[in-house]
Amino acid sequence: MFHVAVIAVLVALVLAVFRALAGPGVFDRMLAANSIGSLAILLLAGLGFLNGRPEWLDIGITYGLLNAVSTLAVLKFFRHGDLAFDAEDEA
């Protein structure tokens, strides 16, 4: 049954990579990159159960955190340009 999950996630990964390569705008690429991160977490969980060693979900948590960090960094770059931008500076 874990095969089903892993295959589904792989199919979704192929489609997400297609969107990342084809995506007309920057935001489409960003969305696809974020989805690739989420799918990598699901793939990791599925593979862990498939191989009988599910105790490595820590790696998945790391992926999730770093996915959020990189996406927020990109978005902040888009809004302010400067990654270390402060609202206090503006005032």
Binding site: I59, T62, L65, V69, L72, A73, D82, A84, F85, D86
Partner: protein, 139 residues
């Protein structure tokens, strides 16, 4: 992004758990994937996330520049000093069996100290790099 309520609340909630999780990765490194290098990078990522949402001035209150810059060499020194007791005991540099009677426990203590050095250096270096790039932008 400081005005953004959703991001602010979300990051404020997640931030302590990131640091806790980094410590878990560090101390659980003997029994699962993890260790000093990974934990250091995760701590740095947590601080960077904080700096992204609250601005770098707020992040510098959490991790002051002076402290971070002193921690960069401090980690290497912890590593090196972790190896020196072996020399005094007449054994080789980085020989951990001197730390306890039982060689296994000695190895565990040695790995613990050395990994402590690694996490300090890696985390501090990554944060210092981020600060350096961020400060350059404002001249």
């Amino acid at each position: 992004m400081k005005q953004d309520v959703i991001l602010r609340v979300g990051v404020k909630t997640v931030f302590p758990f990131i640091l806790m999780f980094a410590l878990y990765v560090h101390f659980h490194g003997d029994y699962g994937p993890g260790g000093g290098f990974q934990a250091g990078v995760i701590i740095a990522a947590g601080i960077i996330l904080y700096a992204l949402v609250f601005g770098s001035a707020a992040a510098k209150r959490v991790a002051p520049v002076a402290v971070v810059e002193r921690l960069v060499p401090a980690g290497v020194l912890i590593y090196v000093f972790g190896g020196i007791p072996g020399l005094f005991a007449g054994k080789r540099f980085l020989d951990y069996t001197v730390y306890a009677q039982d060689p296994l426990h000695g190895h565990e203590w040695g790995v613990f100290i050395v990994e402590g050095g690694v996490i300090v250096t890696v985390a501090a270096t990554m944060i210092a790099i981020f600060y350096a790039f961020g400060d350059r932008a404002r001249g």
